[in-house]
Amino acid sequence: MLNALLKQLENGGVQSVSLLASRLGVSEPMLAGMLDNLERMGYIEKLVPGCDNGRCSNCYMKAGCNNNQPFIWKITAKGLNCTLLHERFPAC
């Protein structure tokens, strides 16, 4: 289940939580829990869209860049490594 999720991330593209949940055959709250766990274990990381606080501090448009940004996760090197391991050793 978690490996399948990592595999989906490895395949590339942007997927919404609802689409991914339906692909994996789990509910959205379940997928949210899986994402929580993978993030805590370091297999995925949360990205924060928005301005660079240091460099954008003088930009008058910066206030419009950090509003209601969605949560975005990406696979980490550890996660990629795990999906590779999984191909060779399904029980990794």
Binding site: L20, A32, M41, R55, M61, A63, G64, F71, A91, C92
Partner: protein, 640 residues
Amino acid sequence: MAVSEKTVPAAKTFTIALAGQPNTGKSTVFNRLTGSRQHVGNWPGKTVEQKTGVFDIAGKHYSLVDLPGTYSLTANSLEERISRSYILDERPDLVIAMVDASQLERSLYILAELVMLPAPVIMVLNMMDVAAEQERRIDVKELEQALGIKVVPMSAAKNQGFAELQAAIAQASMGELDYKPQKPGLKEEHTLLIKDLQQRISRLIPYAYPVDWAAMKLLEGDSELVETLRERMKKDEWAQLEAILGQYPDGALLVAESRFNWIQEITAQAVSSPERRRLPLRSRFDRAATHPLWGKLIALAIVLAAIMGSMLVGAPVAMGIMSGMTLLSGVLSKAMAGMPAWLAAAVVNGLVPGLSFALAMLAFVLAVFLVIGILEDVGYMARLGYITDRFMQRIGLQGKAFMPMFMSFCCNVSGIMGARVIDSWKQRLIVIALVPIIPCAAVWGVTGFISSIFFSTGASIIVAAMLVAVVLQLALSSFLLRRFVVTGESGGLIMELPPYHKPDWKNIIIFVWLRGKEFVKRAGSLIVLVTMLIWVLSYLPYGSMESSYLASFGRLLEPLGGLMGMDWRLIICLIAGFVSKEAALASMAVVFGLGEAASSLTAVLGTTAEQVSLGAYLATAISPATALAFYLPCCFPYPV
């Protein structure tokens, strides 16, 4: 972990620990049960807050300890260590596991760990009202049967379910609670591994630790347990154990997988979500809005409507501002009649026209922010970014490259800044090349303003047509980039799209107000600076625009401008736009204001359709707007 005398309940008091993930309503239940009989301090030796309290049910005394909210019980954080140490070392008589019914599968994860520990557990299924609103049906009896523990449904915010909880607590204190928990376990192929681990550690783990739980924790790489065993084991024993664990570098993933399988089994029969045909209108719309084809069509329609809407709001306000500033210009001109000529010219021909344009643009910027504010507030803006991914994939950009493109809808500068997160330099370069094509809020404002000068109420159609041209430019760029630049993949992304909801007008107005204030503060000072610089260059050395330094420089570049239907004056404005889009507008006001005697808006910019041939008119009228829409954004991020 040691617990101070103050926090340890009296020997015969029935002690309850309140556990659960954050935001599951733990505090509400704690406050409701204990009322004012609480004590707030710190966990001994820690800086984490500890809340304890007492309450009575039918004359019997109970003590309640609020454990820190945690997502799991692995020793990764201080809170997790405190929670699990309390349950293992202090052995409360009962653990109440708080679970969010609206996020059931997510918040059951901690229960999968709690049922492995020695203290009996009852589960409080809070936020049943929210789950009902989501049309998620939870069969409590079925859940109880699947879990093998008592489940108490509750809507704490509505004060429902507390009597049932008190009854369950009383039952537990009398030893009448039926407690046969179903525990999560690893897949069959790992049974031998777990048994082997149990044998190796059973004599060495702390007395309070259940051996099956400890074996799972070891496989997870629990730092506290690993350290304890390393200290207690002989060197060769430890080396053997380490070698076994080394074969499972992703042991934590195996254990987590087993818990999610357990959750899946537990909830399979007990939870049902609304059928697809019965999905609420919002969900059905979202399916369409995120569909590869319909999503794009919906996005196009919404963006076009948004542009037209912002033009309709911005244009009349801008015209009003321009009329007001024209009057002010006349008044100042008379009032400064006795002052030095250069000073009067600086104010009347430089400062006032520049500020007029800046304020008029503000009307458009605010209108654009209003539209963005509404789209963000209802939850659509993130979808707009999401559906652009298919396009990104077509040009070979994936994963992180999506983020800067998404951010560019608000500001190209932040989009270019955001490109730094992309690992591949080729992809980074392509993103930086493509970001300026995406129209940011300022571009909408500037192009809207210029178009409205020439096309009045038809401006929205012109801006919409420019958007179509932008899309075509993106398609052309994609073709060229695919043909000449080969890029590698960089992994995918998952987006948690915010839910749709009705617009909160108060929030939107605050959003627009804050951004408007910021615009006036930052852009205002920049515009004044650029305006005055342009004016000085156009005034020196002889006080005449035609023989000024600015004119000499502009004429040098005129052949280039001719290709776009622009004379030297417009080329100067375009160059000023490298600093920022609105600086181009301010320069336009100064350059044309000095060249033309009249101060009304149309006169300042020169021509009308009746005066010249249609072809020449369109070339001049559209060129500045399109040039501003397509050329580089504010240039300062490029060197970063």
